[in-house]
């Protein structure tokens, strides 16, 4: 503004007025306008660039920049209006080609016009901050061609039609498509989005809404997912071929929403093909497809996971509560392991090792394993089975694998202390009967338990191993000091520390004289070397190898239990004995004796004695005699004891009771530990904290905790707050 005023004071302005022909600007502009026409009509060969450039330069120099600028806009607008009519006139398929051709022409012309107007672009437009020639040319095209009413919707519909055609399997001219879409992108992001992308997404959404409805009515889940996956890759492919890469996310989300999110529940729950079907029939490929598709939508995986979890729980519940399955503990645990392996495989192959799925699997197992109170016992029995004989011949690595799997199940157990109880019993049996196959495997499992539950958990188990070792040394010492005993029967004693081993009521019995003499010698030897100890014979745990000669002179070595030995030894002095006589002579408790006789007389092929009358069960009036006709192709014959592998009902009660008894001091210790640090705590909190602290071992029963608190109050460890009865106070 002040610029103009100042100029007026200068003399130079006078010169300009003289030089300039009043029609100069119009004349010059006419030349340029004609050139623009020629350029658009592709008739530029006769034009002199130098002349046009110079004319445009002169116009700006002589302050006609404004005229030049508006003139260029008016001329170009007129041209584009004309072109748009031509494009509009194009029929059918040639419409898009015509548009594309005119667009390319326009670009070329725009480039040339910009060249002519370069000086204006650099000086006049720069200083007046107007739109530069090139972007101006693009927006004129947008306003006069793309947004021309007769082209706008037709262009969009043509493009959407072509996409639709391609979706229904027709082949379209992707190159043409790409150039036209590229035009939208060149015109600016907002033009592309408003004039193409948004309607395209809307149309796609409509298309997939209809299609997905069709599919879901006609296909099963697996096929549906295959189709959805195909559509998704098609759309991604489409974006790569002729759309803006930024559209990929948007179009995939449309497909995801219409094809997956909207039908999620129905797909998952589809009868005879849904998720449960896939799980039951090991359809890993379909499961993987489902995972990959569902992960794309919100709550997709959550839905899959929920259905898998409820299926797992249902299946697991049936498995553990089925009384048939509980009959064979080894089979029971093996089934659990198989299920676990199966789902591990599903998660690793189909669900991309998704952590949340692993967690769901773990929580489901934890849920149903604990539904059966006997799970700890069964798991221990399974281990027992494996360590007794199952592992024979399996290489160490496989042993480790099995043990690791068992540990996995062990982790799910809430009542780990119950497992410990059973494990101790089973381990004791294995150790004492010498049936443990691999010492390494045994120790390996103990190490695993130790890392899982701590030193306290396994100290007694380790004590058992120590006892076994010391007993070997003791026996060597015993026979060393009694060289005369090398003749006659051999006695092997295992000295077990009370407390480390599962306590079993010592069942008294009358040992045969030969044995009891030896026992006495050992007792005096042992007590002589270790003062202040007490020895009790656990005859119910022992075994014996005895040699027997049968009727035709055939010799056999019989491997029997201590009780069986006592019974058989009686037949050295008698041919026939009644049940009563045997009971009197051995003083073995009735239940044990019956079992013992059953195994000697009633097992086919191993019945070294015969019973009268012949029957499966032992009656009080039965009588027994040696089976002189006994034959076996083996020299050594092992007479098994008819043991109920599983516990009998009263035994179970007993174990349970022992467990409960053992828990009491642990609960009390936890209460005292907590109160010692907290000093004052209310009832609910103390229950919660105790439960939490004992979690790794067992799930404490709130009523039991309450009882323990009462007991501690009685013993003056705690007191109730005098004002608030809910509060407990720690007494130092």
């Amino acid at each position: 503004m002040s610029n103009q005023k100042k100029r007026n004071f200068q003399i130079e302005a006078f010169k300009h007025r003289v030089v300039v022909d009043p029609k100069y600007a119009d004349k010059t502009w006419q030349i340029l306008e004609r050139a623009i026409h020629q350029i658009y009509n592709q008739d530029a060969s006769g034009l002199s660039f130098e002349e046009l450039y110079r004319n445009a330069y002169n116009m700006v120099l002589h302050k006609f920049g404004e005229k030049l600028y508006t003139g260029f806009i008016v001329t170009m607008t007129a041209h584009l209006k004309e072109k748009s009519k031509l494009i509009e006139a194009a029929q059918g398929g040639s419409f898009l080609e015509e548009l594309n051709k005119k667009w390319n022409d326009h670009n070329k012309a725009l480039e040339m016009i910009r060249d002519i107007l370069m000086y204006m672009d650099r000086t006049y437009i720069e200083s007046t901050k107007k739109t530069h020639v090139h972007p101006m040319g693009l927006s004129l095209w947008r306003d006069n061609v793309v947004h021309f009413t007769k082209i706008h919707t037709r262009l969009l519909n043509t493009l959407l039609d072509l996409v639709q055609k391609e979706r229904t399997g027709e082949v379209i001219d992707r190159g043409l498509m790409r150039s036209v879409i590229k035009m939208f992108m060149d015109l600016g992001e907002s033009v592309y989005q408003e004039d193409f992308e948004k309607p395209f997404l809307d149309a796609s959404s409509e298309f997939y809404k209809v299609e997905s409805q069709e599919f879901i009515e006609s296909c099963d889940c697996g096929d549906y997912l295959k189709k959805a996956e195909k559509r998704l890759t098609e759309e991604i492919d489409r974006v790569a071929h002729y759309l803006d890469p930024k559209s990929e996310e948007k179009i995939t989300s449309v497909v995801e929403k219409e094809m997956i999110a909207n039908h999620m529940q129905r797909l998952v729950h589809m009868d005879n093909s849904g998720l449960v079907y896939m799980l039951l029939h090991d359809k890993y490929e379909d499961l993987g497809r489902m995972y990959n598709l569902f992960r794309r939508v919100t709550n997709g995986l959550l839905t899959v996971r929920d259905v898998m979890t409820s299926h797992l729980r249902e299946m697991g519940k049936q498995l553990v509560t089925d009384p048939e399955k509980s009959k064979d503990p080894v089979e029971f645990v093996q089934r659990l392991l198989d299920e676990r392996d199966k789902y591990d495989k599903v998660i690793s192959t189909a669900f991309g090792n998704d952590k949340t799925f692993q967690n769901a699997l773990n929580s489901s197992f934890e849920y149903f394993i604990n539904l059966n109170a006997r799970s700890p016992e069964f798991i221990s029995l399974f281990v027992d089975d494996k360590l007794r004989k199952g592992i024979k011949g399996i290489v160490d690595v496989d042993v480790e694998v099995i043990l690791d799997k068992v540990m996995m199940l062990f982790r799910y157990l809430q009542e780990k202390d119950v497992f410990e109880k059973y494990y101790k019993q089973h381990l004791a049996k294995r150790l004492l009967s010498g049936k443990t196959v691999s010492d390494d495997a045994e120790r390996s499992l103990i190490v695993k338990l130790k890392t899982e539950c701590g030193y306290q958990f396994t100290s007694k188990l380790e004590g058992m191993f120590t006892d076994m070792k010391t007993s070997e040394d003791t026996m060597r010492g015993f026979y060393g000091s009694h060289p005369e005993l090398s003749e006659g029967p051999t006695l092997i004693v295992q000295v077990l520390t009370t407390g480390s081993w599962p306590t079993q009521p010592a069942v008294p019995c009358n040992l045969p004289a030969e044995v009891s003499v030896l026992c006495e010698k050992f007792r005096s030897y042992y007590l002589g070397t270790h003062t202040g100890r007490r020895l009790t014979w656990q005859t119910n745990m022992g075994t014996a190898d005895i040699k027997a000669v049968f009727g035709k002179g055939q010799k056999h070595e019989l491997n029997v239990s201590t009780f069986q030995m006592c019974v058989l030894m009686l037949f050295n002095n008698a041919d026939r004995l009644s049940y009563k006589e045997i009971e009197q002579a051995t003083e073995i408790p009735a239940s044990d004796l019956k079992r013992c006789l059953q195994s000697l007389a009633c097992v086919k092929g191993k019945n070294v004695i015969k019973k009268e009358p012949m029957s499966k069960d032992i009656g009080e009036e039965d009588s027994f005699y040696v089976n002189e006709k006994f034959t076996s192709k083996f020299y050594k014959v092992k007479i098994g004891t008819v043991v109920a592998q599983k516990e009998t009902e009263p035994e179970k009660q007993e174990t349970r009771q022992r467990v409960e008894e053992d828990r009491k001091p642990q609960i009390e210790a936890a209460i005292v530990r907590i109160m010692k640090s907290r000093k004052i705590l209310d009832h609910n909190n103390i229950i919660a904290e105790v439960t939490k602290q004992l979690q790794p071992r067992f799930l404490a029963n709130p009523t039991e905790i309450k009882k323990r608190i009462e007991s501690l109050i009685e013993r003056d460890f705690l007191e109730r707050d005098s004002t608030d009865r809910k509060l407990y106070r720690y007494l130092a």
Binding site: F49, E50, Y53, R54, E111, M112, D115, M118, R122
Partner: protein, 440 residues
């Protein structure tokens, strides 16, 4: 044959030239030549001579520039003509970059002296980023582009200008005094090419817009503008504005007994993320130098000569500049003695370097206080009619720039690879440039 295809003939204003397409390609696509040889214009270079209706002498110079990258202007060609022609061909940027070389304080040569029309002494001169400059005279700022063509002068309500600064090659910030009760003055953003006022910066105190006097200016690379401000009531301190939105973003109020609002000099320290604020004698009786951290509104370092035993008149600090590389502040007294203050110590003292006081005896009629500038490890100090250049870790005097007329240098500024020095006795400023690198 391949060589001849490359050949191009021009008839410029009646004179014949012959060159190659390769040479012309150096002009770039966005030039007359770039467009001329574009495929759109089906030119057949072999059989025709291209006519260009322009000055042939200038064409020769510019063709040479494209051939060699060197600009050699014969004495008979006026600068303005050459620039006009370069502008026609779109080669103005080529001319500018060939004109002078990268800045080196020890290789400067005087390239021009520009005489202004304003009466009275200049206040400040500021170099622009692309070789232009602006000069504040009283209430008006004259703007020159790199061709030293003067554009429309700028003013803010014709109030006395305290400082000016370039935000970029097209935007200048001007700080001015307020007139009591009129709400004018303060700070404005101007277009350097048209001189139009684009934006006026405001100070708000307790949600009320206040009129104020803006003093020294500084800019940070984070698009912030700092200015020392004096308001009517107690808006004394340093204001901060956003260069893009123009809105005030912060205000550092000065504490009692310390001076910020009167500051002579602000300097943004990018490495330390701090602003150096220096208020110096004679604006105040004492000197106050402080570093402000705006992130936690904290004065992280300060120095003052209040109560200093050595505060004799001879050791008055007249200008200060922070040198981040050596963690120190360089100060200068009126005898051009340099002193250094360690930034790592709080409240340290000035370590003056003893230089001979040659100037003391022959002071000119109109003495000017020394000013300091720092450019890529070179320290510049103006004193009377000369500028000294110091280099190296011990700041050894390596060059002295002086010319015979114009009197003392009241301000100087370095930017756009040029040094501008404004004289106080006559209204003239000098332009110093580093010549282009030698031929071999």
């Amino acid at each position: 044959m391949g060589i001849s295809k490359d050949r191009i003939k021009f008839n410029v204003g009646g004179r014949l030239f012959e060159t190659t397409a390769t040479t012309l390609a150096n002009a770039g696509r966005n030039s007359f030549f770039g467009a001329l040889f574009d495929d759109g214009w089906n030119l057949s270079p072999q059989d025709s001579v291209i006519f260009v209706d322009r000055n042939s002498d200038c064409f020769a110079v510019l063709l040479d520039l494209l051939r060699t990258g060197d600009l050699n202007v014969p004495a008979n060609i006026p600068e303005r003509l050459l620039h006009r022609e370069a502008s026609f061909y779109g080669l103005l940027d080529h001319v500018r970059t060939a004109r002078w070389g990268p800045f080196d304080g020890n290789r400067l040569r005087l390239s021009d002296s520009v005489k202004g029309t304003s009466p009275g002494d200049g206040t400040a001169i500021r170099a622009g980023p692309d070789g232009g400059c602006c000069v504040a005279h009283g209430s008006v700022v004259h703007v020159y582009d790199w061709m030293l063509e003067e554009h429309s002068p700028i003013n803010l309500d014709y109030q006395r200008v305290n400082d000016v600064g370039w935000i970029d090659s097209d935007n200048i910030v001007l700080s001015a005094c307020e007139r009591l009760g009129r709400g004018d003055g303060g700070m404005g953003l101007f277009s350097s090419s048209s001189g139009d006022l684009r934006y006026k910066f405001q100070v708000s105190h307790e949600n009320q817009v206040k009129s104020y006097t803006a003093g020294a200016l500084s800019f940070s690379p984070d698009y912030e503008i700092f200015a020392s401000c004096k308001g009517r009531s107690n808006e004394y301190g340093i204001g901060v504005w956003d260069q893009i939105t123009g809105k005030q973003t912060d205000f550092f109020y000065e504490s009692p007994g310390w001076s910020l609002g009167d500051a002579d000099k602000l300097q943004w320290l990018n490495g330390k993320n701090c602003l150096l604020v220096a208020t110096l004698f004679p604006r105040k009786d004492n000197c106050y130098i402080s570093l402000l951290d705006f992130r936690d509104k904290n004065m992280v370092w300060s120095w003052s000569d209040i109560g200093s035993p050595m505060a004799t008149d001879e050791k008055r600090v007249r200008d200060a500049i922070a040198m981040e590389d050596s963690n120190s502040i360089c100060v200068v007294n009126e005898f051009e003695d340099l002193g250094f203050i360690d930034l790592r110590m709080y409240g340290g003292s000035v370590r003056w370097s003893s230089r001979s006081k040659l100037m003391k005896s022959k002071m000119p009629d109109e003495p000017c206080y020394p000013k300091l500038a720092l450019h890529e490890g070179q320290l510049f100090s103006s004193m009377n009619d000369s500028i000294s250049v110091f280099c190296g870790p011990d700041w050894v005097l390596t060059s002295r720039l002086r010319r015979s007329y114009g009197g003392s240098i009241c301000d100087f500024s370095i930017g756009g690879d040029r040094l501008f020095a404004l004289h106080s006795e006559e209204n003239v400023f000098d332009v110093w440039e580093t010549p282009p690198p030698p031929i071999i």
